[in-house]
């Protein structure tokens, strides 16, 4: 009995010695609560900056200045100027159709284009940004890092101290290691809930409509279920989305019928270019339904864009369901109608005519394609097809 008591005290003391506190004060702004960075936090920021440099050097980031400045303006409205003085928030857009958004502890937030194109208005964008910005101001990355460090220290201590405890000690440590691994997946439920709650407060304080806050997550959940999306990312995982939806539903009950800004029109105008960037990638990935929705949203604002009509034609041609070939042909013709110099639609039409055995029309369109695009990468194929048309 005495032996067990000593063992317990020894474990407790070791844990206390090995653990760092995970609770840290949030960055609130103002001179009275100026933010003091801790040494391990400095290392975390340095690592973040290194990782960001890699992203900056790639072609992954959206360079549309107007769009990037717009999302940064939305972020600015969410926190008072004093907070922005202590953390320089910067929002960047990654051209990628995955449902993802993440924040580095130093205030840089990356939002995937796929996430933005699922949104309907500025209030939804503000909700997502407020959630991510809360991860920064509440120093969640630091808390998580310390938590993991403590768990690793715990496991090391636990393994050594429980060795004499026989078979039960081994089993306990084995289960503990699996549990530790599971804990590595994203922020804890508590931290995410804090980001939801604090973020919701910011959105309401910025005069956005609270009723809009959970809609994005609801739509994402439908997408994940309908498209059977298997993404190992936070916002792409079904249980995490369900948590968000439930949290926002609860939070909305605090402000029933309050109303506020939605800013649908300005949002749709500002993000318009993103629809085609994302649609193009979704066509490559074979996500035709999402791509079609994106092109149609773009066309609702810019109906005269030849490239958009071409992409819609590509959705139909590649999806190849009943009636799709005719729809594709109509879209390519619409594209040429809007811009008679748009080369890709001539090629697409030529290939469709060739498949139908309509050789004279095929020849005419393919020849036109090569005239408009003499350096085409697929020139050799086109010359082969033209031979078949003779």
């Amino acid at each position: 009995m005495k032996k067990a008591l000593y063992l317990f005290i020894l474990i407790a003391l070791s844990l206390l010695a090995g653990c760092e506190t995970t609770s840290v004060l949030p960055i609130r702004g103002g001179s009275s609560s100026s933010f003091q960075m801790e040494s391990d936090e400095r290392r975390l920021w340095n690592r973040s900056e290194e990782e960001e440099k890699k992203l900056e050097r790639s072609d992954l980031l959206c360079r549309d200045e107007e769009l990037v400045s717009y999302v940064n303006e939305v972020a600015k409205k969410l926190y008072p100027a004093e907070v922005h003085q202590q953390v320089s928030f910067r929002i960047a857009i990654i051209k990628n159709p995955l449902l993802n958004a993440f924040a580095y502890p130093n205030g840089t937030i990356y939002v995937h284009s796929g996430m933005i194109t699922r949104m309907e208005n500025e209030a939804e964008l503000a909700t997502l940004l407020a959630h991510e910005m809360t991860h920064v101001t509440h120093r969640h990355a630091l808390q998580q890092m310390r938590d993991l460090k403590n768990k690793a220290a715990f496991m090391a201590t636990f393994n050594v101290l429980t060795l004499p405890a026989g078979v039960w000690g081994s089993i306990a440590s084995l289960l503990g290691q699996v549990g530790t691994l599971a804990a590595v997946q994203g922020y804890s439920r508590e931290l995410e809930t804090e980001a939801d709650t604090e973020g919701f407060g910011l959105v309401v304080a910025a005069q956005y409509d609270p009723a809009e806050t959970g809609k994005l997550f609801l739509r994402l959940k439908e997408d994940v279920e309908e498209q059977k999306i298997e993404e190992p990312f936070f916002f792409g995982s079904h249980p995490r989305l369900q948590e968000r939806i439930e949290n926002y539903e609860k939070l909305q009950t605090l402000h029933p019928g309050k109303g506020g800004m939605k800013k649908e029109e300005v949002f749709s105008q500002k993000i318009c270019a993103l629809f085609l960037i994302d649609a193009d990638q979704n066509i490559s990935a074979g996500n035709y339904k999402i791509a079609q929705r994106e092109v149609e949203r773009f066309l609702s604002q810019k109906p005269d864009d030849a490239h958009a009509h071409f992409l819609l034609g590509e959705v139909y041609r590649q999806r190849n369901e009943q009636g799709d070939q005719d729809r594709a042909m109509a879209s390519y013709q619409e594209s040429i109608g809007k811009n008679p110099s748009y080369a890709n639609s001539y090629k697409a039409l030529g290939l469709l005519h060739l498949k139908k055995g309509e050789k004279p029309q095929a020849k005419e369109h393919l020849q036109r394609y090569l005239i408009l695009s003499p350096q085409a990468q697929d020139r050799a194929y086109i010359l082969e097809y033209l031979k078949q048309c003779e």
Partner: protein, 183 residues
């Protein structure tokens, strides 16, 4: 005698388990239904599926031969190959699968053209990319054909600067030597 026996046995196991083995000359892969002539002095990996050879290291240049079922799900796109698909459409699926790989950035298609492999009409794709982690630019040539229910591909990837040009002719010789054992 027993000591010698053990020494031979240990040497045998060390050689058999080594991750890399020197290759050169005719190489037959009966289970995958192809043969190919490999360059002298290159090393073959024993730890990956399919055939992967390199001379200076996998980050500098590799030649890879692989075979998979036509209806197999692709890793990065939902698109699929289908029987009787013309070579250009087959190449488009291959390109879309590469383009949708989240670990690849700065993808640039340089050429997509008809080609033959083992006498079968197929496609040739030439492209460049960077990996998400590093800043090294790679260049790649990919030949692909369809035979029965299988897709065969032979691919050369090398660091675009210096290494690609150095071994591109070697790769072309290897790809020309590629034969299906039972067409």
């Amino acid at each position: 005698m027993t000591k010698k026996y053990w020494l031979v046995l240990i040497l045998f196991f060390i050689t058999a388990c080594a991750p890399w083995a020197k290759v050169g000359g005719d190489y037959r892969e009966e289970s995958q239904n192809y043969s190919v002539t490999l360059p002298e002095g290159w090393m073959k990996s024993n730890t990956v599926d399919g055939l992967l050879v390199t001379r200076d290291g996998v980050l500098l240049q590799t030649i890879r031969v692989e075979r998979f079922k036509i209806d197999q799900d692709l890793k990065h796109t939902r698109k699929k190959y289908s029987q009787n698909m013309p070579p250009q459409e087959m190449a488009d699926v291959t390109i879309d699968n590469i383009k949708s790989d989240p670990l690849i950035t700065n993808f640039k298609l340089l050429e997509s053209s008809p080609a033959t492999l083992s006498g079968i009409p197929g496609s040739k794709i030439v492209y460049e990319f960077k990996t998400k982690e590093g800043q090294l630019r790679f260049k790649c040539i990919h030949y692909g054909i369809m035979s029965g229910e299988w897709i065969y591909g032979i691919r050369y990837v090398a660091a675009a600067r210096h290494y690609f040009d150095k071994d591109v002719q070697t790769f072309e010789t290897v790809s020309q030597s590629f034969r299906l054992l039972k067409p």
